[in-house]
Amino acid sequence: MSSPRALHFRGARIIDPLSQRDETGELLVVNDTIQSIAFGGRVDAPKHAEVIECAGAILCPGLIDPHVHLREPGGEAKETILTGTQSAAAGGFTTVCCMPNTSPCLDTAMSVRFVEGRAAAAASARVFVVGAATVSRKGEQLAPMASMAHAGAVAFSDDGDGIASAGMMRRVLEVCRSLDRAFMQHCQDASLSEGGLVNEGSVATRLGLAPWPRDAEEVMLERDLRLNGRLDARYHAQHLSSGGSARILREARARLGADRAHRISGEASPHHLLLTCDACEGYNTGAKMNPPLRTQWDINELKLAIADGTIDVLATDHAPHTIAEKSRDFASAPFGIIGLECALALYTKALVEDGVIDWPRLVCLLTLQPARLCGLDRRVAGIGTLTVGGVADLTLIDPQQKWTIRADAFKSKSRNCPFDGLSVRGKAILTIRAGEVLFREDPVAQPQRAAVATGS
């Protein structure tokens, strides 16, 4: 019998969001678990261990994206669970939570098991299912959330649509509370956004595109927070786009007090931190998003909210669409962009390079926070942290590596990335799930990277 598989990380900047340590050290993985961590010291590694010289690169828990669209079943022309998880691994994500707006919708225990089965077969990044809260995401009838939770759904959402009826919203929050699952709201009051394509303002006016006011997001967020004040469910507002929403969330968290504030959270996505509605000029469908890109004021407010902890989850809202679909006219092209393979670099650009937060905090918002939101620790012990005896889901990040985003080189099946051609800094160079290497950067393709020399 051969000796157990072992990985010995040397000279890494180890960032663990749980213990809040950020020190150079060594880490030893044996089989699928973290065997030992030595901050500022050395681990006792077996002779056969594969040595990974990190040369100061950041070693952190595997990144977790709580908001992706894998499109399977029904949208396999855009993405599959296989290509989506490979895309995740290439971007440094070891875990993704997929949204239920597939066709058919993920609103039964059977569909949850289908996705988990496909994800197991794909054998790349972990996939957890966010189930639909209402049947077919229509907001009319409760979905079988208890059996879905039992089958593995880690949270619930009607993402793509907000739950319009306040009465239904209250029922959903009650059930989520009883099941101890988070509810993720796509905040969009359809009566305010209906037909909207671009942020309400001068770009929409000049281009003659239907306006989408911030109110559409803020009104629903405010309503939900009001409802949840009594129900105390774990409430999460997805992809916030409006600076006003950030302020609403900040006030609500302050009202709840320090010990309850974590019951509500908000999420940011890279495009809402880097692009404004000006990107829609020339009817650029590559910048057509739901919720829409807004203004520099909103970007500034969202960054403030990330800096002060109001927004404490980061996601990608990875939304693949085919080239043909995005080549339609602005009104009929679908909303959304892909993000898994460039999110880390874009967050580095928007948040770290801009001085909003530092690396340890960025790591926390991309690992521990989404793991807590979805209660992933219940499924995989130690996920989102670096814990001795916990799962060895790890990402090695070269924070200095300069590279150019090339959508054509993505593992994702889709190419709808408005950041194509952008020069960025910061890249995942090694992605490990349960001790298995999912992605290792090809050293030939990127000669200027930090050394990830391996030896034995």
Binding site: A204, R206, E281, N284, A331, G421
Partner: protein, 370 residues
Amino acid sequence: MARSASQTTQALRDIGPDLRLPFAARLRLPLLNRFAAASGIRIPPLRLWATVSRVTRPSIIQRSFGPDFLALEGVCATELTSILDDAERLLPCAVGDAPAARVLEGKLIANLFFEDSTRTRVSFEIAARRLGAEVVNLSASGSSASKGESLVDTSRNIEAMGVDCLVVRCAISGGAALVAANVRCAVVNAGDGRHEHPTQGLLDLLTLRRHLGNLRGKRVAIVGDIANSRVARSTTHGLVALGAQVVAVGPPALVPSSWGALVSGENISISHDMDSIIGEIDAIIMLRIQTERAADRGVAPDYRFAYGLTEARRRRLRPDALILHPGPMNRGVEIDDAVADDAFSSVIFEQVSAGVAVRMAILSRVCGRR
């Protein structure tokens, strides 16, 4: 214009490539321009007088191409004046009082109307025929043909049959630009969704100029469904470029607060009180409530009371003030019967004649000079 069989075959082959190139060509975020420049990607601007950069496909149909005419936004005063001067000279020809030089002899112009229209289509057709061009009409209103995808496919098919100019009307904002980015022949925007209707803007300018002279400093009110009106956008761009002051009048649901940002500068204002401005303007342009663009939901049943051009309001206009309407009218809603019919104060039918003249000027510009 004879083309060999092999050229035609090539042209037909050229119609159906995948949509990769147009998509790439539309990734033109201003934010990313410099990165694109650094990496050698050409990101064409899409605004819009003068030549729009085409998708780079191998040049198969050997022909020189004229500029497109897609919008009045960004057209400078010199250029506008030059077009209006041309149109003014062509006015007698437009109404049949004088023969026009047949500068489009041998040209083929296709009217591609994905949205219903009578007057605009006929006006373009008459303009083209008076200049000697052949005209084909294609009406394809209805939901499936209005989608962007078939808009491009249809345009490429028609182009491959050897037309020199596509006159495009569609319900999609940006539709004409989308067509222009995907074909090689000239494209004239005959109204795209809520965006622009530049020849209508020009005919308003021509009509106003003929009555008011130089438009610098003149005050023009545009009343009604500003939010959904492509005419309001084109006319405002043109008026402001020529130095006029434009006041947008209507209920808040139909006059977006961001209207003032349509162009930079101080020449645009907004009023929700028609009676406060009615006595101070040189001309008033009444717009139709566009029920097909769902504008009626923001309109109260007392619209006429607040914003209709009634007899009483007409009496408060300056005696020399002009009343324009791009038509078709909702009589008894935005304009009273008697006001519309009053031939002495109304120049509405003169607008229609001016429409043929400006379209003659535009068509000869985009495909008349080789």
